[in-house]
Symmetry: C2
Subunit: 445 residues, 2 copies
């Protein structure tokens, strides 16, 4: 390990306005694209060195896609810019008076600060769940969950004890939002087409996929019609849906619900809640339910030069009184919009308020089973929604290479029902020596 004192942010000073962006996701990358290299210095501070296409993360967790195929290195995206500076570091504080942000290895002055940190999992203060449940927010999480699922099947093949086997074959997904639904659907397809071939000694009728939510319907952000369609598809695929149901505790072995029910499970995935990734330093009153309150210019309440975009921002408008949905589109649009406003500023033009263009919502449950809410209160379902889903997701994946590989994988899977990435990769060497690889378990954090 390197000593921190040898590192510093090491950003050259220029005469251009410096835009410091915290985060490297949809909003951050789209904003940077709209800031001309000749007019702005862009400093991007991120804890991940890649731009992840998070809507497909569940595919990585279920061995459908390689991790690398849904990620682009941030530096590669902007390798033609001369005054773009990526730094792989954690931000710890914002000082609006001094106009600086502080990182683990030093501070940097900003002219404009953009908070585009997205969300983190929200465990509502339950440390036990945080420790034992598997998250699904980054590639690390997805690779970890993939290994956990495959190891569970391996272990289930190696027990004669019915209770142990059942605990290994019970997968509990807490949260029936898009992540939970798509993960449950993908697991159900895997159970149907892949796992019985891979594990002929196991009876996959015993495998239970529980999808649990505290609300009274799946996919609550979508229309009741799409929720109903999704519910139907999930049941067709054999997912056990439990609504109006809250998780009380999870010790890594047993999920206990608030109503007293218990399910023994070695794998609980936590997709039940997110909170904006708030940075210390701004006053508490600009944060509401874990999101920065912003005006229609994405300015954080009370600041002219501090912005928040995407999931971490809440912009209340007449049409969206609770703010926009925490999905990719508002982040992409706000990033691009803020970029254009900063260019207007440079030209002394008036800023334009942001207006969200709702392109609709899509979710996939399985092959030829998808749902869509279109603008104008129309809904789609079935094969046509599935084709729309495929098209939209490939279209938005950045980079020629990723698209090609994702497409190749999909075409391959379409014809063969196969999944290639069923590889257990768990670089947890220190624990292996004690326990042997087969028993290593690393809950996501």
């Amino acid at each position: 390990m390197l000593h921190l004192e040898h590192l510093s942010l090491n950003i050259p000073d220029t005469n251009k306005p410096r835009v410091v962006i915290i985060g490297g996701g949809f909003g951050a990358v789209n904003l940077t694209k709209d800031l001309p290299d000749k007019d702005f210095q862009v400093v991007m501070l991120s804890k991940l060195n890649y731009y992840g296409f998070w809507p497909l993360l569940y595919q990585v967790a279920t061995a459908g896609l390689e991790p690398e195929s849904i990620a682009e290195p941030v530096r590669k995206i902007f390798d033609d810019r001369k005054d773009f500076h990526f730094r792989f570091v954690r931000v710890t504080n914002i000082d609006p008076a001094a106009k600086t942000v502080t990182t683990l290895i030093g501070s940097i002055r900003y002219d404009y600060l953009v908070i585009a940190t997205g969300t983190t999992s929200n465990y509502f203060g339950n440390q036990q769940i945080k420790q034992h449940a598997f998250g699904l927010k980054t590639l690390d999480d997805a690779v970890n969950l993939r290994s956990q699922l495959l190891q569970s099947f391996e272990q289930a093949s190696m027990t004669r004890d019915p209770e142990t086997r059942q605990a290994l074959l019970n997968i509990v997904i807490a949260g029936a939002g898009p992540t939970g639904v798509e993960l449950a659907g993908s697991l159900a397809e895997m159970r149907r087409h892949i796992l019985p071939r891979d594990y002929p000694g196991l009876d996959f009728k015993q495998m239970n996929i529980y999808l649990v939510d505290g609300l009274d319907r799946v996919l609550p952000p979508l229309s009741p019609e799409s929720s109903k369609n999704t519910h139907e598809y999930l049941e067709e695929l054999g997912v056990i849906i439990k609504l109006n149901k809250l998780v009380d505790s999870y010790d890594g072995h047993t999920v206990k619900f608030k109503d007293g029910e218990q399910i023994r499970s070695q794998t609980m995935v936590w997709a039940a809640g997110v909170a904006g990734a708030i940075i210390e330093g701004l006053p508490a009153e600009v944060v509401e339910r874990g999101r920065y309150l912003v005006n229609t210019f994405n300015q954080v309440q009370g600041y002219e030069d501090i912005f928040a975009i995407g999931d971490v921002a809440v912009m209340k408008t007449d049409k969206w009184p609770k703010g926009h949905p925490q999905v990719a589109q508002p982040a992409l649009q706000q990033g691009a919009h803020l970029g254009k406003n900063l260019v207007r500023q440079l030209r002394n033009q008036a800023w334009q308020p942001f207006s969200y263009f709702d392109k609709g919502s899509l979710a996939i449950v399985g092959r030829a089973r998808a749902v869509a809410d279109l603008p104008g209160n129309k809904t789609l379902r079935g094969f046509i929604a599935w084709v729309a889903w495929l098209f939209v997701h490939v279209y938005y994946l950045i980079g020629f290479r990723s698209k090609l590989i994702v497409l190749a994988n999909w075409v391959y899977r379409l014809f063969t029902y196969q999944r290639g990435a069923r590889i257990i990769v768990r670089p947890l060497i220190k624990e292996e020596d004690k326990m042997g690889e087969v028993f290593v378990r690393q809950p996501a954090n």
Copy 2:
């Protein structure tokens, strides 16, 4: 974590002869293919759930290929067999008197036992090097080394201290065999075509790639002619070659050589030696220099029903007095050959002795820079050797899907000089909380 006492190997009893294979590599997989499902029960015990195409592992470490593209799940390869039983578990002991092998979760009786465990890194007893150096034996290792290299460049971008920066940009590869040479060449190509674009703030003239070996030439298993060609290619690519040079110690910061020279480096890769992965239980006299002594039927000395194949076996013949080279071909051929002999046994036919068909050796240094030793003391170099290398490696990669993706990647890189997999994935969550992702360092073991 699951308690071990709940697990057992859980293999059904049949009337067929049971072949227990320890390992899941070239020899093990090729052997299984030649054992008819209807005649044999095959039990494969392995610490990895995938069949890795190890000759391309350095490509994963240098972000050229995704980990999944050089690996196939073992279960997928044999999913059409009814009496094949894969178990993801570590073997701890062999008891030839009882005809059983013992694993972490119980024992199993064998009719034929095949040891196909390959090799592990040999640190010649130096625990400090083992702790701090990066290995390159499995996908875990390769992903870990890839992350380490990328993190080093990230950190080098964040320091004004010239000594720290130099330590981060010095990569020391101990061992100039095929792995060391191909890794050095690939890193040199990366330095030339990729890194200056990704890290415009760094001067890659400062990046030093040291290739160190205790012997007096690179690629000692190949002909002197090919060694000379390889040496020339490596120097063209700017690799610093140090021969007749032995590593004395490495503390994670400074490589000390036996002759007193020191190089500060945050990344030393250990490719300097391997030893057969010996299992406890057989008498010491059947092991010579970490390999099981076998006769021309691959029977371990003194046993009729215990075999060793591939790297972990040493079969001394007139033509190969020190045994065959520890590469893929002998393992593949011995696996297939043993399979045919076991079938002969079933039919009461006489066994055939193994004879190695040397197809030649290939190594790649960079684009259009490869060397080959062909049978009959001929050598190839340059573009034609490179094309031969491409052809052979794609040909031997198992599985339609892998080939397609590897080819797509190569074609893409051929035209663009790009590498897509520059993703830092390090599921080392527990250490992150203390130190922040940017400073996590996990040496391979």
